[in-house]
Amino acid sequence: MSQSSFDLIVIGAGPGGYVCAFRAAQLGLNVALIEKHSALGGTCLNVGCIPSKALLHSSEHFAFVRDHASAHGIEVASPKIDIAKLMAKKEAVVTKLTGGVAQLAKARKVKVITGEAKFTDAKTVKVGDESHTAKHIVIATGSAPVELPFMPFDGETVVSSDHAIGFDTVPEKLVVVGGGAIGLELGSVWARLGSEVTVVEFLPQIAGASDKDIVRNFTRILKGQGLTIEVGAKVTGYKDGVLTAERGDEKLSFPADKVLVSVGRRPFTDNLGLETAGVELDEKKRIKVGTKLKTNIDGIYAIGDVVAGPMLAHKAEEDGVAVAEWIAGKAGHINWDLVPAIIYTNPEIAMVGIGEDVAKAAGIKVKVGKFNFAANGRAIAADTDDGFVKIIADAESDKILGAQILGHNAGELISEVVTHMEYGGSAEDLGRTIHAHPTMSEAVKEAGLAVSKCAIHAL
């Protein structure tokens, strides 16, 4: 049994963990990165964000050729989809990115250790037979899909997103349980490829955190794309190819040859030896952290999906950078109020800060500026004119408190709002910043102007 020691050990090589390791290495620390899978990148790169985006893009091209090309004068005789090739393309994307992470790790002299890590004490983790000690240990073990106890994953018919990114045939009838980002994205993928997709959501609306006007329009658009949306429905089971649910006294049944359960993710804290190290968890089995992402045990930190907060790769990355800097004695910074969240359907939903509905419910006086892509030249030219931008600003100071965008590439458009917000910017600042023409980003500027009823291209 060998032993090696480091300044920092990071457990988990997802976007939180590897970024933390890289940043610490940049700052001169001797870093080990422990990952149980052979490929780095965690859920995000391997079975999450990236492969789903590959599928979304491929399927969008297919849907365009099949449904919209003709309107542009492009005539294609009944296009067909080759699932094997589509999946190979996705795999190539994943391989390229995970390989890139491995290369960067090597170049930054981060020691990558493959295997499952387990604390043996507060300063030591064991991987296989080897023990590794470090002054600082960051837990970045991420999350796993939540199972419904009465219909556990079988990997064949009742599946998680891990499987739904890799079906080898297009399911005839796919029922998606849970209308959040993951369910709607993968539901969109398979709907475009020909599945009859039904989304069953327990809550009264899909895309839960979004404002009602966003959700209303989003639901309309998804229905137009062939998805069936069932809200307020509690799933009760799956038997003999039929998913059953209840809406009050109403019994619902949905024939399904595949059921994707995407009702959330749970923090991955099993078998880490956290009890041995003495690390406390909260009631949801998340690792409890205080200031600077410190756990209750000195020298042990936790970041990303294993702690409270949005389970988003970019949030985990910022956690990772900040904690690396704090460990290195630098002034780490992260603003958890300003974590944008995106649903990568077409159109996308992008959100940051607080929404109009939340503000009003909380009694915060806000002014809202809204601008429709239907009045944006680029959006009209690109056939992406469904949706709108909303800027939510403090009624008195005009400070931007939030933004919600429903539209093509909304995820790209939201960034500038986040930047303005990071600097305490006002809606007027957004409106007085030059935006290139013709771009869809002009709608963001106009929404900023609309806060004070000054939008140029809307009344």
Binding site: T291, K292, A322, A331, G332, H333, I334, N335, W336, D337, G353, I354, A359, A362, I364, K365, K367, A393, D394, A395, E396, S397, D398, K399, L401, E422, Y423, G424, G425, S426, A427, E428, D429, G431, R432, T433, V451, S452, C454
Partner: protein, 407 residues
Amino acid sequence: MSLLEVKIPPMGESIVSGVIAQWHVSDGDTVKNGQNLFELETDKITSDGIAEGDGVISLKAAEGAEVKIGEIVATIDPAGSSAAPTDKSESPLKTEAAAPGPGSGSKAQSPAVRRIAAETGVNPTDIKGSGKDGRVTKGDMLAADAARSNKTTEPAQVAANPKSKIVNPKSASGSAKQTRKRMSPLRAKIASRLVEAQQEAAMLTTFNEVDLSAVMGLRKKYQESFVKKNGFKLGFMSFFTKAVVNALKEVPGVNAQIDGNEIVSNHYYDIGVAVSTPKGLMVPVIRDCETKSMAGIESDIAEVAGRARDGKITLADLEGGVFTITNGGIFGSMLSTPILNAPQSAILGLHAINERPMAVNGEVVIRPMMYLALSYDHRLVDGREAVTFLVKVKEAIEDPSRLLLEI
């Protein structure tokens, strides 16, 4: 841009400032879009300041204060709260770890901050910023501006109070042997302009008298058909206006004015007609009188005089006249010497029409007579021109067919 600014609207090129005669609202009042906020007096007109949005108003100028065109005299907060932004209005979600980054003390200012700085004079570098790394945000600027204007408006409001009528403060009994009222800005302006005209010009008045038998005869003969055609009566003013235009053409020296070292000759005939209004004397201008018919001139005068009396006159109505006619006769004046309406060079005063015995062809006859007075700027107009001008007016009135023949 959360606050709506109430600005003094542009009113024409010759007006650069005015006086807030009266606020119709108080600081902190809730106002509605379209509501009349204040009365603005300039040396020419009185106009109303209208709210362009709903909200709570914050006054930035006191009653009686002189204000410039474009000046912000109030702001309207559409949020409906006059409270200055507080920390509470910052992000409702608390940031746990906001360590200052390396960029502290940046001098870059956001566009909204730059705008407010330019418009209010609040210097962002004097303010402690609440934004990232101490940057000044728009909210910081608005709060600083609000704090500053609260300070400056308070004493002004106190000072404005004495404006409300003080009844003879020296009278022990309090009985009103005198009442005092501050001169209205319009009245003060009229006063100073008249004094200016009197001091600036070499003013002189020439007199004559005119027999109105012919005009009265025409009016009597054609009044019925005139009214039938036009719907209003044929008055005296159109005759005098036409007579003045005719005389100005004959004696162009009167249709000129002094501008510095230069003499400006006017080649148009826009005639001002003095109108008494509850606010004071106003002189709306009747345009292109040389091309207008008698009926056209009569209707123009009626229309513009009505608007002047209703306070609906616009500055454009008052600008650009070359000559003024004032009629003291309607109040019974026998004879007076009008003061020039600067920068014009002459003004014709009309007076009461009285029947007087006149010697005509060796016989005493009773005629409806009016004295005419022409005040003129002797710097520019010679006595010969002035007298000739007035005789031309007299002749045209006594024999209106001259107007037809332009002789």
